[in-house]
């Protein structure tokens, strides 16, 4: 008898007894409340994928808009002081009325 034939013979043989585990399974299943399945109402998979995508998008937007300045501390200080100078102008009209004052202010200071 070949291997295939022997396997075929063996495949014809089944567990000779009638199995009945219904009561045992049901008793085990119902006695343990933690085994009680929860009714599936929400499919969390697409929700979790969308949430993960949103987190990644927020991260990218964050580092694009609020990326750290490349200015050194000295440059940053200069920029702030210049901003303060210009902000000391009260109005555009005032600046227009005294153009030379503003134009030559630095020069005068240098000449002094």
């Amino acid at each position: 008898m070949t291997l295939e034939q022997t396997l075929e013979q063996l495949s014809q043989q089944e567990y000779p007894r009638k199995v009945d585990v219904v009561d045992r399974v049901m008793a085990q299943v119902q006695q343990k409340p933690y085994l009680r399945p929860v009714r599936r109402t929400v499919n969390w998979r697409p929700i979790s994928i969308a949430a993960a995508a949103a987190v990644v998008a927020l991260f990218i937007v964050n580092i694009t808009i609020f990326r750290p300045s490349t200015l050194s501390n000295e440059d940053m200080g200069l920029a702030i002081s210049q901003f303060n100078d210009y902000s000391s102008w009260n109005t555009v009209e005032e600046a227009a009325a005294n153009p030379y004052e503003y134009l030559y202010e630095d020069d005068e200071e240098e000449n002094l």
Partner: protein
């Protein structure tokens, strides 16, 4: 009543319906278990464990495949786990003597040879690696297609082909010895 309807009813809270699933598949599970591990003392225990595990896994089952395939997969996992735990292989003395068919048509000598061959084959199957034994049993004894086996074992088609090929090769080698 379709499997899906029963599963939906169980998940909706009518847990008594689960008995129908157990009733429907318990003998199939027992037969597969018997071919996989051959230990008749564990058959009912394994069958019970399979259905307890199926019950806890039901909320995750989405009917992407047949319920029967899912049950086969759980059976294979449970048997494999229990065999590893017990570290026990199939041996001839663990099998129950089958009621021999057509015994009146065989003479005594043929009967002895036949029984020896069957015992030798069972022992050899028991010596196969878990994956090879599972693939071989599903293909040969349960008439699963390669694709069905790949679904049950969660592996590729080529791996299934390879497992079955190696299983047969190892069986032939052991039987010749």
């Amino acid at each position: 009543m379709e499997d899906k309807q029963i599963v939906d009813a169980v998940l909706a809270g009518d847990t008594r319906q689960y008995a129908v699933i157990v009733e429907r598949y318990q003998q199939i599970v027992a037969n597969l278990t018997y071919k996989l591990c051959g230990n008749r003392l564990e058959i009912e225990e394994v069958t019970q464990q399979v259905f307890v595990e199926l019950y806890t896994a039901l909320p995750r089952f989405r009917f992407d495949s047949k319920l029967s395939s899912y049950i086969y997969r759980i059976t294979v996992n449970v048997v494999s786990k229990m065999l590893k735990k017990a570290k026990r292989f199939v041996s001839t003395d663990e099998y129950e003597d089958f009621p021999e068919q057509q015994s009146d048509e065989r003479n005594a000598q043929q009967q002895i040879i036949y029984n020896e061959q069957m015992d030798q084959l069972r022992t050899a199957i028991g010596h196969l690696k878990d994956e090879q034994r599972t693939a071989l049993v599903l293909y040969t004894f349960e008439n699963f297609s390669y694709q069905d086996i790949a679904d049950v074992m969660q592996c590729t088609l080529s791996k299934v082909e390879s497992l079955i090929f190696r299983a047969k090769k190892n069986l032939a080698k052991e039987i010749k010895q």
